[in-house]
Homo-oligomer: 232 residues x 2
């Protein structure tokens, strides 16, 4: 299912970083990073391969070094909700309890750091700075999930797509050009829409001159208009 590269000590910060990661580098709290790195293993997963599945044990959590990961939940009849997309610098897979309630898959070829939960807990107890950092990471995920409750519960298709594009842009330093490493279907499953609705909304925004659509990237031609649509 995956190749494990023999790199017990990670090469965090040495390469493979793109523009989206600076919040780790910026923090400057290298001692914590080093403590964490010591217990991390570098892994490689290729496109579409499963990193973990619903129901497996959750003895590990991960951080994306490069590439994109989708974390999702399935219903028995095949309906799917993507809980989050993880880009480089993002963490995922830290769960309570014994069983994973989500699955995670590589959307592109992906390099990950994998951390053992028990080792992390030991480190947490020894080093308050690490504990603070991890708690902060969890609070960040919580805020993101709660923001998406509003999007899924109360926003129109058009508002959802506009918010999505702005979110992707912001995660990439506000670049006008937004890469879409995921399929239209993934976008639909992230936004609670069908693939057809996603397409129609994108076409509509294109017709109105707000964006330019290319199949795996989009240009934000009129960001203020997009922000007005997204209501922020």
């Amino acid at each position: 299912m995956y190749r494990q590269l023999a790199t017990p000590r990670s090469e965090l910060g040495q390469g493979g970083w793109n523009r989206a990661v600076p919040d780790v580098a910026r923090s400057g709290q290298l001692d914590q990073l080093i403590a964490l790195e010591e217990i991390g293993i570098r892994l490689h997963f290729s496109r579409i391969h499963e990193i973990y599945g619903q129901g497996e044990g959750c003895g590990f959590w991960y951080k994306v070094v490069s590439g994109t990961v989708r974390v999702c939940k399935l219903l028995a009849d095949g309906r799917r909700q993507i809980v989050e997309f993880c880009f480089s610098g993002d963490s995922f897979g830290l769960e309570r309890g014994g069983e994973r309630s989500f699955s995670a898959e590589a959307l592109s070829d992906v390099i990950l750091m994998r951390y053992s939960r028990t080792a992390t807990e030991r480190l947490n107890d020894e080093n308050p700075a690490v504990a603070r950092r991890l708690h902060d990471m969890t609070l960040k995920s919580l805020a993101a999930a709660q923001d998406r409750l509003l999007l899924l519960g109360r926003m129109t298709a058009c508002e959802r797509v506009a918010s999505f594009l702005l979110e992707l842009s912001e995660r990439n330093d506000g670049e006008q050009r937004v890469e879409l490493p995921m399929s239209r279907c993934d976008i639909g499953d992230y936004l609670g829409l069908t693939i057809e609705t996603v397409c129609r909304v994108l076409s509509d925004l294109k017709r109105r001159g707000v964006i330019a659509v290319h199949s795996h990237h989009i240009e934000l031609l009129d960001r203020p208009a997009l922000e007005a649509i997204a209501e922020d």
Copy 2:
């Protein structure tokens, strides 16, 4: 806006607890609780009053002693999403960053413990057991929020209502009788539905003999049927 009762050391465990709280009592980790209690203040809020608002500073977090709280987010045009209902034993209001992105209101008369964030952080650094406990609490909220993404993104009105009733029942030790301290409108704003749809679904479930509806409580007459509807 609120009355602050002069009770610097809480009466946790002495009274005002209903059946929904045992996970705190059960944990038996009293030293941590005592350490936390030392920095907590007991407060009282009356029905409909705001505990904090969107945009305020977030120097505190809270734990419900008795009563019910709703945590919600508003859009400019008045659309509202309730992010969570908090019953006794639940914590809320722990956020990163400087500004609250949600507001919290008392749904009924409510007794809360309020904890200072800075004091909590100090305690976290000194006492790993407290840090673990708080991190666990945040992970629990995260799991709950992520589960609701699936509900809001991919479930039908009927499935949402059925899940909601089962969730309330489970939080109350699986009782057949489910109390509804919130209005139909609150339920709608929690489930991403209108009040009319909530009513219609409840009436439909009543007609099918699955539940008995009384305006502020509901009886689960046929739990297996409800579970089948909720897809679990």
